[in-house]
Amino acid sequence: MPWDRNQMAERAAQELEDGTYVNLGIGIPTLVSNYVGDKDITLQSENGMLGMGPFPFEGDEDPDLINAGKQTITELPRTAYFDSATSFGMIRGGKIAAAILGAMEVAENGDLANWMIPGKLVKGMGGAMDLVAGVQKVIVVMDHQNKAGESKVLKECTLPLTGTGVVDRIITNLGVLDVVEGGLKIVELADGVTEEQMRDATEATIV
């Protein structure tokens, strides 16, 4: 059985090292915070906050306290607020240990496309280009194939890029792949997924 969204998030949480500052993207990456367990992880929200807490209880929502997905959230005893230039200073400056992001396409050389479909989706890159350029480790979490059953793990991205050679590790519903010299290396297969199934579902070179 391939992993579901929660299992992918749970697997991604294993990537986070105790005592680090981490940025989680929107979608499946947001679920990762449910699986950090006993690890001491401080979540960064790039609109200007370290120490992001859970959603507020109903009635406690504060319009001045949102995350980068514009959702109402809460603060923690460790929370610090700062302006956007400072926020991206710590991102660009390599102070954030890891970013877990969704993707539309990833290529075998670590190229990432997750912000634009020409003519269709014109929303903008937000902070994604700064994150992939600046954080120490970039982990992509996404479905292995699109709705048409085509591989999202490609030899070369077809969509406009978010960054070149930036992805370190890819976690999909089929397993875990690392970007290495010459292509991708299988690190782990989801329960019941065979290496053959992984290879069949992947357009990129698997070494």
Partner: protein
């Protein structure tokens, strides 16, 4: 040194002109200068270029100026929440310059600090880098981005004293401090003006040197995505 004005319209008097470039604070609908945006709409100033991380929603924030066709160009990192924006952009009525969010913030900060350009790794190898100077430092490639110099800054703070020292609240700080610094004139709207001397000098987020005009007003502070958890689930 009179910085306090009676209304948003008074505070903007003499500052607005067609074709001007305005830097605005806020992230999504959080910490946006909603009263000043409304006053700009009422003034009818046209062909505006806005540097603002987002473009509001259809009926709030910069969205109200898009509805009235007062905006010529947006410089933003993410505009996904505004359908009217998308319509005007796809039909060619509106110019759009995407800046990565950190690059946009740094362009404002740099402009306010008198820095006309800086090199960044962000966007290297992407559409953003096209036509920009590339330069290697320590074996890595960077691109040249320019500091931003606006005709006017409009920002929202929580509190101001009478000399314009500002305090922001929680995540509503966001783009407000960098946006405040990069305009020739900065107009600030706050929830409360407090007597000079009542703010702790060690707790000022933006000193009054950057602030020229202040108004106090009632803010709607709309929430874009209300997400909650139930008390039962937490137990």
């Amino acid at each position: 040194m009179k910085k306090i004005y009676g209304s948003a319209a008074e505070a903007l008097d003499g500052l607005l002109f067609d074709g001007m470039f305005i830097a605005a604070g806020g992230f999504g609908l959080c910490g946006i200068p909603e009263l000043l945006l409304q006053a700009i709409k009422d003034a009818g100033t046209k062909d505006l270029t806005f540097a603002s991380n987002n473009a509001g929603v259809d009926d709030f924030g910069i969205g109200i100026l898009l509805q009235s066709k007062q905006v010529k160009k947006m410089i933003s990192s993410y505009v996904g929440e505004n359908k009217e924006f998308m319509r005007q952009y796809l039909s060619g009525e509106l110019e759009l310059e995407f800046n990565p969010q950190g690059t946009l913030a740094e362009r404002m900060r740099a402009g306010g600090a008198g820095i006309p350009g800086f090199y960044t790794k962000t966007g290297v190898g992407t559409q953003i880098a096209e036509g920009k100077e590339h330069k290697d430092f320590h074996g890595e490639t960077y691109i040249l981005e320019t500091g931003m110099f606006a005709d006017l800054s409009i920002v929202k703070a929580w509190k101001a004293d009478e000399t314009g020292n500002l305090v922001f609240r929680k995540a509503a700080r966001n783009f407000n401090p960098p946006a405040a610094t990069c305009g020739k004139v900065c107009v600030v709207e706050v929830e409360e003006i407090v007597p000079t001397g009542s703010l702790d000098p060690d707790h000022i987020h933006l000193p009054g040197v950057y602030v020229h005009r202040i108004i106090q007003g009632e803010h709607e502070k709309r929430i874009e995505q209300r997400t909650v958890r139930t008390r039962e689930a937490a137990q």
